[in-house]
């Protein structure tokens, strides 16, 4: 039994690389996802997947099918959208979800228009988005580097970040770190997403960022606990997804995310903090 769990990784280098890549993304994306969930920005990942298109299109128009140019362009576009949305949310009557929706749609439309101007039907995003089974050295180094940078930055900014989630006005009143923290956080989000898209494809990048974080809410009530649960469940789901894809012959990205989803449903039912089934069980009456 253990043998069959381990054997695919022994036999094939691409499985080992997929494992390492999944581990890297499981270390870096779920913590960011936890903060996104706490700040009610959960749909940002999906919006980002569309928002990077004009940057990638400009990269393509300038340099052809160069992955580096397109990723750089994508990162710039994603950052522009995220920062613009953040700025608008802080200084106008709009909240973050509305401002983000506005900007990412404009960005997407611009991207589609730019791509069609070139006239060819090369599906840009199809080329830009990678697959966990096709991780070359460059992609692995990219995710590993971003994981390192993100973890260190999150560690340094942990306290202002948590405070910003729960009481931004208080943070603004006692510290000048409020705005820079917010901005750095947005940079981290876009960095992780763009690197994730390039290495693993949109589904896995966004999915690993958000699903484990969402599930972790049912197991812990403090931020540190949520992050721990999210990271462990992300990696567990990745391994499960890889093995299922190997033995059952289904595409890997969806398999991993469905494994995350299964854990999410499980958490919702039996999670220690707020699992639905516990609420249905009869409890002891308080007695004097």
């Amino acid at each position: 039994m253990i043998d069959s769990l381990v054997q695919p990784f022994i036999e094939f280098a691409f499985m080992r690389r997929a494992l390492v890549g999944s581990l890297a993304i499981s270390l870096t994306a779920p913590p960011i996802g936890v903060f996104l969930v706490l700040r009610r920005m959960s749909l940002m990942g999906d919006a980002m997947g569309h928002a990077i298109l004009p940057g990638a299109a400009i990269g393509y128009l300038l340099a052809g099918l160069s992955l580096f140019a397109m990723s750089l362009g994508g990162f710039a576009a994603g950052l522009a959208v995220a920062l613009a949305a953040g700025l608008v949310a802080r200084s106008t009557v709009l909240r973050e979800d509305a401002s983000l929706a506005g900007f990412y749609l404009v960005s997407l439309a611009l991207g589609v228009m730019l791509v069609s101007m070139r006239g060819s039907s090369v599906d840009l995003l199809h080329v830009l988005f990678g697959s966990v089974l096709a991780l070359n050295d460059g992609a692995l180094i990219l995710i590993a580097a971003i994981a390192s940078v993100s973890l260190v930055t999150l560690a340094l900014l942990y306290r202002p970040l948590v405070l910003e989630c729960f009481d931004p006005q208080f943070l603004r009143s006692v510290s000048p770190l409020s705005s820079p923290t917010h901005l750095v956080f947005l940079v981290l989000v876009v960095l992780n997403l763009v690197a994730g898209f390039q290495a693993l494809g949109t589904l896995m990048a966004v999915g690993i960022m958000l699903l484990p974080a969402v599930a972790a809410r049912f197991w812990s009530e403090d931020v540190g606990g949520m992050i721990a649960v999210a990271v462990v469940s992300a990696f567990g789901s990745s391994v499960t997804g890889l093995l299922v894809s190997y033995y059952v012959n289904v595409p890997t990205g969806p398999a991993v995310i469905l494994a995350c989803g299964a854990f999410y449903l499980l958490s919702m039912l039996v999670g220690v903090r707020g699992g639905v089934l516990w609420g249905l069980m009869p409890r002891k009456h308080l007695e004097a």
């Binding site: 499985m15 697959s131 190997y246």
Partner: protein, 324 residues
């Protein structure tokens, strides 16, 4: 305010009259307007139609017809056309909607009519090498897919014998719409058919020189089934179309097969992402043998700007990688 309104109306008039003028100019030069669904068909139609036909193509060089999404400009181009050439066999998933949307009233020619299709299984992307096609045989079988798993392989043009069927269908289609040009079309078709036959002989000769154990290749999607069947090459691919995603089991099977059978080369295609194939190549030590042109021609300056050049290039790349 009134000045702005007047200016706007003036601009609108100018724009409308300019576009009207452009259309009038189009209709003045008397050539037959043909639209081909993708670059390979476009090249064939140009060869048969010659100067009598003006050919536009929907999915251009290096474009992916599996993923093509038509734009209003395409619908407009089709609406003004006299004849529309499509491959058929399920290659153009977007065709019906485009026809309806554009209000196309011209002739539709399915160039694969009369071709005996091979089926591809959606689970097992394996084509066994069969004996070379019998050239006298044309059995009129419609594409059959009884199983959910079996679908017709649309890439029929990869067998030059089918290419000849395509050319004959194109010729007949053009004659039906433009009977005055009958002699021109027949003459052009004859010349082109002769060139295709010559290329077919050259391909068979080149493949025959390769030792039998080396006649296997890996490529990224099942576009070379007809080529493999006709010319005796075994083609293995992880996915059937550019739209689907590979599973870990698919990739593992291919790697195992390459290792067991010592398959020497892996080929990229001009329409798909190369990273998965690069990964397979570096894990097995197989060479990346170059780029093959499958579903689209290259640009004019590229190595495969016409249908016959595509074959020359592909066979050259194959023999170079497999004979070393």
């Amino acid at each position: 305010m009134r000045n702005r309104l007047l200016t706007l109306i003036a601009f609108a008039f100018i724009a409308l009259s300019l576009s009207g003028g452009a259309q009038a100019a189009d209709q003045a030069d008397g050539k037959l307007k043909a639209v081909a669904s993708f670059s390979i068909l476009g090249d064939m139609v140009k060869n048969v139609g010659g100067d009598r036909v003006e050919v536009s193509t929907l999915v251009g060089p290096n474009g992916d017809a599996h993923l093509f999404s038509p734009t209003p400009a395409d619908a407009k181009m089709l609406a003004g056309a006299d004849i529309f050439f499509v491959n058929g066999l399920g290659f153009e998933g977007w065709m019906e909607r485009l026809e309806n949307a554009s209000g196309f009233t011209g002739a539709l020619v399915v160039t694969s009519g009369g071709v005996m299709p091979i089926t591809m299984e959606e689970d097992d992307h394996h084509h066994e090498a069969e004996a070379a096609d019998e050239r006298g045989h044309v059995e009129h079988e419609a594409a059959e897919d009884h199983d959910a798993d079996q679908i017709a392989d649309p890439h029929a043009w990869q067998n030059l014998y089918n290419g000849e069927i395509y050319v004959r269908n194109i010729r007949d289609g053009l004659i039906a719409v433009d009977p005055e040009g009958k002699e021109t079309y027949e003459a052009n078709a004859e010349t082109y058919l002769a060139a295709i036959e010559a290329e077919d002989k050259a391909v068979r000769a080149a493949i025959a020189k390769l030792p039998e154990s080396r006649r296997k290749i890996i490529t990224s999607h099942d576009a070379f089934g007809y080529f493999g069947n006709a010319y005796g090459l075994e083609i293995i691919a992880p996915t059937a179309s550019t739209e689907s995603e590979a599973s870990a089991q698919d990739v593992a099977k291919i790697i195992r097969q390459i290792r067991e059978e010592h398959i020497p080369a892996v080929f990229l295609e001009n329409v798909t992402d190369r990273r998965l194939l690069d990964r397979i190549a570096s894990e097995t030590g197989a060479k990346v043998g170059g780029t093959l042109y499958s579903d689209a021609l290259s640009d004019k300056d590229g190595p495969a700007p016409t249908y016959l050049d595509m074959f020359k290039h592909n066979v050259g790349a194959l023999t170079a990688a497999l004979s070393s």
